[in-house]
Symmetry: C2
């Protein structure tokens, strides 16, 4: 090893931590959750989350990974015998199916190929002809393929069904894409702490619309830890039904204050700029995008060069430069690698990772013009920033 190598995350969650948030977390380690001081932090954090979500709907926090909130979005809305409609085009879409199976709920599925967005027209057609459905499930951004879905079009269609809620997994969509919770009719929107919110994993968020609360009031599937109505009552007072993950909440408070100062729109624009620059960088190296259309702002999935295992690129970047990027998941493993740019990333991170990628590819036997992808990234930057 020739010298210092700093470890850097370029993965679509966990993402780099905001240092302010980390320091707040440490400083406030010995906090008790049943105190006025913590209730104040909790209430402020929920208010900041509403800013982050850009919604006036209730927002709740759970001590769990995002999957816990996904489970809650099923167990709180459904009753035995009811059906759901699922749009999937990747590993996270498939998680809805696993959840439905676990609860014995019939799921009608629109499955689009990996690399493409979910076919919204097909969902609308099923909604019209194969209902009733208690809820429709989709990802805002499918992280496994780095493709963005048109939740706006879906939301506008679901609005016509007063007995059907739209549930959006926005775990990597929040803070990376425009999501108009009320305007588009996104009834339940799920987020997670280790994404654009810039803190470690361990917290999940949900926003819940009035329409969803109405359906939740009549639903019968069992739930206890992820009981949305119980948490709504508690969190309105800055309390939680069960012990909250206090240090993570305090870290989240600090990170959301940073995001508010930065501006929610600027956080999203930052991800969009880095995504555009990443696509330009890949193109300059002759690498193909995995997304056939509608590439995500959260991460960019890139095909390895013909005949090269993407794992070799992941390994080379890891060992040589300490840069951790994500391989493909499931059948995409070995085919693609994923470069994240959601949350606390800046353009200099991209300069570094593309220069490193050029060297990695060269060491793996590819012909690479050094500096070519960095130049493409720089040009995108200069086209947007004075």
């Amino acid at each position: 090893m020739p010298g210092i190598i700093k470890e850097r995350l370029f993965t679509p969650g966990p993402t780099p931590l905001l240092m302010d948030a980390q320091i707040s977390t440490l400083a406030a380690g010995n906090v008790h959750h049943r105190t006025e001081a913590f209730r104040k932090i909790m209430s402020e954090t929920l208010t900041l989350l509403k800013y982050y979500y850009d919604t006036q709907n209730d927002v709740l926090i759970f001590a769990s990974s995002g999957t816990g909130a996904m489970e809650g979005s099923l167990s709180n809305l459904l009753s035995p015998g009811e059906r759901i409609l699922v749009g999937t085009a990747g590993k996270f879409g498939e998680r809805w199916l696993g959840l439905a199976k676990a609860y014995g709920i019939e799921a009608v599925i629109v499955e689009s190929p990996y690399g493409q967005p979910v076919n919204i027209e097909a969902l609308k057609e099923k909604l019209a002809n194969e209902g009733p459905f208690r809820a429709v499930y989709i990802q805002a951004t499918e992280t496994s393929t780095a493709v963005m879905n048109n939740v706006r079009a879906l939301g506008e269609a679901v609005k016509a069904y007063p007995e059907t809620a739209l549930v959006v997994d926005a775990i990597t969509g929040l803070g990376t894409s425009d999501l108009r919770v009320e305007e588009w009719g996104l009834d339940i929107v799920i987020g997670g702490s280790q994404k654009a919110a810039m803190i470690p994993p361990g917290l999940a968020f949900v926003s819940v619309s009035e329409k969803a609360w109405g359906l939740i009031a009549n639903s019968k599937l069992p739930r206890f830890y992820f009981d949305f109505a119980k948490e709504r009552k508690n969190q309105a007072k800055g309390e939680t039904a069960y012990t909250p993950a206090t240090t993570l909440v305090i870290g989240l408070h600090a990170a959301l204050e940073y995001i508010k100062k930065l501006g929610r729109e600027n956080l999203i624009a930052n991800a969009a700029l880095l995504a555009e620059a990443s696509r330009a960088g890949a193109a300059a190296l002759g690498l193909k995008l995995f997304a056939q259309s509608s590439p995500a702002n959260a991460a960019t999935a890139i095909h390895a060069p013909e005949g090269m295992d993407s794992g070799a690129i992941v390994k080379e970047l890891r060992t040589r430069f300490g840069a951790i990027i994500a391989n493909g998941q499931g059948s995409m493993k070995g085919q693609i690698f994923r470069l994240a740019h959601l949350g606390y990333y800046d353009i200099a991170d991209l300069f570094a990772i593309f220069a490193a990628l050029e060297i990695a590819l060269q060491k793996l036997g590819q012909k690479v013009e050094l500096g070519s992808s960095v130049r493409a990234v720089q040009e995108v930057y200069l086209s947007h920033v004075k």
Copy 2:
């Protein structure tokens, strides 16, 4: 305010943090969970947890509060139509009933008065005459009343029923009391991070016996996030099914290393000594214990003097000395206060809190001989330590 007041927790969770664990958490903020480095930490932490539990059974970690693992202990063991037996004598015992209700499971109940241990003979009688039960639920220590239950006697009784698992909420029992997981037949034992494990809230633990795994394999209640069998498969490889709360796991690793160095038995003996000293301190002040018998090592619940609201003591200690103690819960609120000594507490903490308590009581109009309870605490210390 006359000068510096340090805030100190004397609550039965969260408890004071081990600083080493906090620093490890901060230093390792930017870790990714799908890496060899984290898998190693996760596997080591699970091994250390087995040491902490004193068991060879599987131990699993969840990103949730302890209640999540309590829910899992029901949803993983039961099928619709099966029944459970619950021993309760406090707020946490009552949580089993809420869980059973949420899942539509019939619970047969042995309810003992607050301040007493659960009547084990009555449980044995119901086990023999009102079964079959798929599982029996109890607390090792009922935190709301600071009473310890005789899980050994219960475990030995449940052993005779091969189709019945014993589930023990040891959230405040672990690290404060002798628990022989295999020898006593404790099939599922639940723990939490913010107790004797000395780190912030956000992680739950469960140990699962072979007997319990056999029952889990045939059970039908829905579960997804708290699916024990799925986590067993993942955690055997240092993985988790869903994103783990990495920073808390890293903090836990550091805390458990400290506990291993200290010695599990010494951690328990420390809590026992502090509990004995707390009882002596209360007696020296003429204060009555809430526990009629079998007081816990984790915390001591003490009646406020006749005619005084215990909330006034809590408030006086809080504002004057920054010492946070717990009021009673539910109907015990205003009647008792609870002084915790589980995990990272030492005898000097007790010297401080009893001296502070003497002043608080005096300021609230009680006649108090200053130094009298501190002397009682010192005497207990000297009777045990050379």
